[in-house]
């Protein structure tokens, strides 16, 4: 994946620590990271670089400085929305919502593939829910930054 990054993972980490933090924050490289953990495993000093890139992604989202045509930040928000609302993710509904919010024209393009999955029983249109979403929300909310969860 590093072929698609303008800064390789260890350079991103160096930028974050002492080089140019803002440059790392606005890079497209952090959004090209698939969190495959190859950088963490192969680092001779065992630096958790993947986690460092997660930190950068989070900071970029909070600062609202990510590249607008990248869908990943929206994907992250949609993912969190589903988990917070129903405790589980529904592949079909998440894809549909994501398309509507980012690239509605792609719904037509990938519609046939979705239909093939539905026909083979590999895409459920049922919205998956846990029985006690309130219980899960209570746990998550207790860890919210503004809920006094931070030490």
């Amino acid at each position: 994946m590093t072929d698609y990054m303008e800064y390789s993972p260890h350079v991103l980490n160096a930028l974050r620590l002492g080089g140019d933090y803002e440059e790392a924050l606005i890079s497209r490289a952090i959004w090209a990271c698939t969190s495959c953990y190859a950088c963490t495993l192969y680092c001779p000093k065992k630096i958790p670089i993947t986690d460092a890139i997660y930190t950068l992604k989070r900071a970029a989202m909070q600062a609202g400085v990510y590249p607008k045509h990248f869908v990943t930040p929206t994907l992250v928000r949609e993912f969190a929305h589903f988990v917070h609302e129903s405790g589980r993710n529904s592949e079909a509904w998440m894809s549909i919502r994501l398309y509507l919010k980012t690239r509605p024209s792609q719904l037509l393009r990938y519609g046939p593939l979705g239909l093939r999955l539905v026909l083979r029983g590999r895409m459920s249109l049922r919205r998956e829910r846990i029985h006690r979403p309130d219980e899960l929300r209570r746990v998550l909310d207790a860890l919210e930054v503004n809920a006094g969860g931070r030490p």
Binding site: A32, T40, T72, A80, L117, R120, S124, E135, G149, P151
Partner: protein, 313 residues
């Protein structure tokens, strides 16, 4: 023996044949999988971007529920088949075991909902359970339709062995090769077996991914190389890798020219076939493409008698 089971959100969707085949295989080998009551999403690779403590708490609630259902168990194995779920659960388990501020915050948050995780629940991957608990000897003994000569490309992908690999080598994993060799197959030598296919939840595959062209390129490289090395089938341990490698082959043909037509399934489906389980119970009919080379009984005989001659000599 019965294991606590974490199905993961993909189990009702793209990963449905994975679950079906695993349940059938465990049953055939005399083990059971009991889903954790009211299990929730593990947070996958997406939630850590929102907040690392909340991502840990998502997994910890599942552990807490599993422990509450088994108050007597000293250690509780939670089987998680999706490599992404498995990695998320492992990460959370390690963070909680390390202690420190994050673990304390998560414990307190669980406490607000009357839950607690005391560390008895541990994530296990079914490949680990099959190879190391049930054992290759028992599996070889239960094999009724040997995969004689089948050239299997064992795809580990990223998250099964990275960054943690409690049951295998993170650089050169061999569990799947040993498993399929025990059933008579001939796993191919495939250095790319731990290379990312680009289909992680994060990237989202070519459908929702940030860089669809990158994803397609990565998966095409993998399949082309597997084919070049003579693979009859590629098997995976993750619903996202599986769908990413199987579902976009027409698009690869349009982008890169030649059609690859590679069969990509779940490792548990192939294992199930060798155990003599019928196709429908393994979700074979749900695959877009499933074509394995015909094995003629005559060939087997010739091969076996040849081997016998060698042994006799």
């Amino acid at each position: 023996m019965s294991y606590a089971y974490f199905p993961g959100c993909g189990s009702t969707g793209t990963g449905r044949p994975y679950e079906e085949s695993l349940v059938a295989v465990f049953q055939a080998l005399g083990s059971g999988l009991d889903a954790i009551d009211d299990w929730n999403c593990c947070g996958a690779t997406a939630y850590p971007t929102i907040d690392p403590a909340q991502a840990t708490a998502l997994c910890a609630r599942n552990f807490a529920l599993a422990e509450r259902a088994h108050p007597e168990a000293k250690q509780l194995d939670v089987v998680a088949p999706c490599a992404g779920c498995y990695r998320a659960l492992l990460k959370a388990e390690k963070a909680m075991a390390e202690g420190g501020v994050l673990a304390e915050r998560v414990s307190n948050a669980l406490g607000t909902a009357g839950l607690s995780y005391d560390g008895r629940a541990q994530p296990r991957h079914p490949l680990d359970v099959l190879v190391n608990d049930i054992g290759l000897e028992a599996i070889a003994a239960a094999t009724v339709r040997p995969l004689q000569g089948l050239r299997v490309a064992c795809y580990y992908g990223c998250l099964l062995v990275r960054p943690y690999a409690p049951f295998d080598d993170p650089y050169e994993p061999t569990s799947m090769e040993r498993l399929f060799r025990a059933m008579g197959a001939e796993p191919i030598d495939w250095p790319l077996r731990t290379r990312c296919c680009g289909g992680s939840c994060y990237c989202g595959g070519p459908i929702v991914g940030a860089l669809p062209e990158a994803t397609l390129d990565l998966s095409h490289t993998l399949l082309e190389d597997a084919k070049k090395r003579g693979a009859d089938v590629v098997v995976t341990t993750c619903p996202l890798c599986q769908f990413n490698l199987e579902g976009f082959q027409s698009q690869m043909a349009r982008t890169f020219g030649a059609r690859l037509d590679v069969t990509v399934g779940f490792f548990s489906q192939l294992l199930g076939l060798a155990l003599g389980i019928e196709d429908r119970k393994l979700g074979i009919q749900r695959m877009f493409r499933w074509k394995l080379p015909e094995q003629s009984p005559k060939d087997h005989l010739t091969k076996e008698s040849k081997e016998k001659v060698v042994v006799d000599a």
